[in-house]
């Protein structure tokens, strides 16, 4: 469904992505793992055009184009099919939870008011935030803000949702409520790319793991395989380190 080929990205003279081939099929949950600085965020940002790639191709359903040649109008159309959940939520601070969800529906997708309201109510209910509809982001906890941010993304019925470490800005006791919402989405068959440090989530929920190392994809395999028979020394080391943390926090 969504695919990039031979994606390259430099910041200044430093090459951060060194030829990424990445694809995701409908209904899949792909977890992107890798140590800090390996380029996970940059990959998601290039996929959503928040960062301009230097080289590569993008394929989204029947759309296929050189990623550097893409026009602003096409970017907007592609973004309409994507949701993005940020590490630090990025809820619109001048709008209530409800208005945050309404914004894209009313202004970008031009959904008529009554339908938009119904969708907003339903999605907020789904993430358990309906009672807090009229709260401003500053009045919500991190976990609540992230749930509203997820509602804002799914309200627009994107074909794929990109998550960039959705729980890593949260206090440990708040990660559960956000992960639960994401698990529910996965059960419903939502297509998701999730950059995460939550090994539990990657093991239990993801169908496939992509492991990034130094700007390359070092492993791309079914979740079970990845954890039971790691391919190389770097992955083994990464797993030893992170799974040790994971066991420890449980």
């Amino acid at each position: 469904m969504l695919e990039v080929k031979n994606l390259h990205k430099k910041f200044g003279s430093v090459e951060i992505l060194k030829g990424i081939h990445f694809h995701i099929n409908k209904g899949e949950v792909v977890a992107v793992l890798g140590s800090s600085g390996s380029g996970k965020t940059t990959l998601l940002r290039c996929l959503s055009f928040l960062e301009k790639a230097d080289h590569g191709e993008i394929i989204f359903d029947d759309f296929h184009k050189d990623i550097t040649q893409i026009r602003p109008k096409e970017i907007r159309q592609l973004r309409m099919k994507m949701g993005f959940v940020f590490q630090n939520y990025n809820l619109f601070r001048n709008k209530t939870a409800f208005q945050n969800v309404m914004e894209g529906l009313r202004i970008a997708q031009k959904v008529p008011e009554p339908q938009a309201k119904e969708i907003a109510v339903n999605t907020l209910k789904k993430v358990g935030m309906l009672e807090r509809s009229d709260y401003y982001p500053d009045q919500l906890s991190g976990g609540q803000q992230q749930r509203v941010a997820i509602a804002r993304a799914i309200a627009l019925s994107p074909k794929v949702i990109l998550f960039d470490e959705p729980t890593s800005a949260l206090d440990p006791e708040l990660t559960g409520e956000v992960l639960d919402v994401m698990k529910m989405l996965a059960r419903e068959g939502t297509t998701m790319v999730v950059v995460t440090h939550e090994m539990g989530f990657a093991q239990e929920v993801a169908n496939r793991i992509i492991f990034m190392d130094g700007g390359r994809i070092a492993a791309d395999q079914p979740s079970k395989e990845f954890f039971t028979s790691p391919q190389d020394e770097n992955i083994k080391r990464f797993l030893r380190r992170t799974l040790a943390d994971y066991d420890y926090t449980i």
Binding site: L50, N90, Q139, D171
Partner: protein, 231 residues
């Protein structure tokens, strides 16, 4: 206080008040409105990185912030006639003050816009908004709240700075006080009275500021503390 002095003060009070209403307040309002629009445009061309205009804005701000307002006023009122441009005192005052205040306001507005985190814009793009919609609906409302106290401050400064235009013969509050003072030889009393009226005017403005500030706040007034993240 002698009876004569009291009489002078009482009889000049309405004259000073009238000068304030007729000249000081209109000057302030017009100058503020013009300089706000100009300042906004100067800020916007810099934010949007429009090549030639951005450079123009930087040079403009450099000049108008780097030279004294009184000198600018004199150049426009006394200087321009020598190259064939003669202006009445009032429009000359409006032009000089507006150009000067625009330079300051643009810096206030620019930094307020830049204070809105990049993530707000990115989130706007990801829900499908375009640049104009993001500016109008997300960034500028947030920037307005940041800029408001500083802009209020500049209005308060402006009411007082308009007293400078007395020096180019505009008969506003201060000029009126000067005239009466020279008739009765009572500078101390008259200038104190003028100061009092400026103080009254700015007291009103301060009330207006705090009223508007409450309206600009998008949070409900009652904040429920325990829902915000602890510590």
């Amino acid at each position: 206080m002698s009876e004569r002095l009291l009489d002078i003060l009482l009889s000049s009070f309405p004259k000073l008040l009238l000068a304030c209403l007729r000249a000081t307040i209109p000057l302030t309002v017009i100058i503020f409105a013009v300089s706000l629009v100009l300042g906004f445009l100067l800020a916007l061309v810099q934010i949007m990185d429009i090549k030639g205009l951005k450079r123009f804005a930087r040079i403009y701000i450099w000049i108008f912030r780097g030279t004294p307002l009184l000198v600018q006023l004199y150049i426009i009122f006394f200087g321009l006639p020598s190259i064939g441009i003669t202006l009445d005192a009032f429009p000359a005052a409006v032009i000089a003050f507006s150009l000067n205040n625009a330079a300051y306001n643009s810096e206030t507005i620019r930094s307020a816009i830049l204070s809105v985190p990049q993530g707000q814009t990115e989130a706007g793009y990801m829900v499908g908004l375009n640049y104009r919609q993001i500016m109008m609906r997300i960034v500028l409302p947030q920037a307005a709240r940041v800029a408001f106290p500083t802009l209020s401050n500049s209005v308060i400064s402006l009411t007082k700075d308009t007293s400078l235009v007395a020096s180019i013969t505009v008969v506003e509050l201060f000029k009126t006080a000067q005239r009466i003072a020279s008739v009765y030889f009572e500078p101390f009393a008259l200038y104190c009275e003028a100061a009092l009226i400026y103080l009254l005017l700015n007291t009103l403005l301060t009330f207006l500021q705090s009223y508007l500030e409450k309206k600009l706040v998008w949070k409900p007034v009652e904040r429920t503390k325990h829902f915000t993240k602890a510590a």
